[in-house]
Symmetry: C2
Subunit: 209 residues, 2 copies
DNA sequence: AAAGTAATAGTACGACCGTTCGTATAGTTA
DNA sequence: TAACTATACGAACGGTCGTACTATTACTTT
């Protein structure tokens, strides 16, 4: 069901509205702080009506993760994939990630940073889902680096460099939110990325921008 | 009161037992997941008796942060401060931090990583307390780097290098807990630190170990 | 031993949690 | 029009939350 010749039916509209709000709440207060009662009140609908869409709190949380993953893909991955594989794409992933965090696509900064820490030391379906997303992301970043290496643009261990780049992203995200600073942390991250890439580019290659 | 010729009186013993458990719980489930009822049950004491020690949930959380700060100081800062200021101390801070995380001094990994993310995007006394600890730590790390620069052992911008080192610590901590891996993430961090420091040591200096 | 105080326990509260149930309304299909 | 399904609602459930009070211990001091 769900769709009638392309148009959304009522139920699916509600579902989308719920998830649009859910990801924002969870990015600030976590997937635990995301309560059904609060969500319903903020959206002006009934708790039971909302609940019926998901069947359980956990299913709401998993749906929220899927929704956040789409937003993440739209804001970070897809734009960077318009750039050819290689150093340019590595650079694009970095800038889009920092822009995604800095522009507060989610009000609490990176959704996955927030909830990954929340569920890192627990077990269950939510933990597993977040683990999968993390693998996906790190694998994608590593592949992007590897392509640049294969192009002869970088000389580096892909896994190692991907780890370091991702570390800069995450550190900037946390510092920025915690200190509510205008962008100093992002500038540190950008500088770190720039000099780290510069130190590994091959002789005949120059950095973008 | 609290002490009688050096020995602890009953109440303070309880307080310490509570906080010892509190920091462990909070490192896994956060300062919000740290509930008074659960804490009392696990310790085999009454909820009201426990509550009387702190007077409010927030005061329990703030006390927990102070307790965790002492443990952090004992495990990371103080050992590193036995090394003379300079590159050696920067190296010591790095290794002790990674050991502190890897050895699970707190079962959920670094206490402050966990709860800083939890309260990063909120306001209130808990947020402020965590902000202060973060400033303290980053300032301390930056000063350690600056000392190495002043010694002529490193050529670097202290704030920039401190940011990058801290980024490696945090990234290793999260990856390790999330993936429950044996130590691969810590090895990536150690390698990152090693090569980052190597790239900035002055000609006449060599890295420890 | 008596008095006084610090520490713990017991009980109860209002609020909110996730969840279930029965029901009313709207939209689609026959 | 009639039957059916999707969607949303209100009320209530048992439970847990933080907190407030009042008792009851245990220990110290006199």
């Amino acid at each position: 069901m769900e769709k009638v010749d392309g148009r959304l039916v009522r139920g699916d509209q509600t579902r989308r509205a719920v998830l649009r709000r859910s990801v924002d709440i969870a990015s600030v207060d976590g997937l635990e702080g995301l309560s059904i009662g609060r969500l319903a009140t903020e959206l002006g609908i009934s708790k039971s009506g909302l609940f019926a869409h998901f069947g359980s709190k956990e299913e709401l949380q998993l749906s929220t993760i899927r929704a956040a993953r789409r937003i993440y893909a739209d804001n970070v991955v897809l734009p960077a994939f318009e750039v050819e594989p290689g150093l340019g794409r590595v650079w694009a992933l970095s800038t889009h990630w920092l822009d995604y965090s800095q522009s507060r696509v989610f009000p609490g900064g990176c959704f996955f940073q927030k909830v990954s820490h929340e569920y890192a030391a627990r077990t269950g379906a939510v933990h597993e889902a977040l683990l999968t997303v993390h693998w996906e992301w790190m694998g994608l970043l590593e592949e992007a680096v590897q392509a640049a290496v294969d192009n002869g643009e970088l000389e580096a261990d892909a896994k190692q460099l991907a780890f370091e780049l991702n570390a800069y992203y995450e550190a900037a995200n946390l510092a920025s939110i915690l200190h509510d600073d205008g962008g100093a942390a992002y500038e540190l991250a950008r500088q770190a990325i720039r000099s780290r890439l510069e130190s590994t580019v091959t002789a005949e290659t120059t950095l973008p921008r």
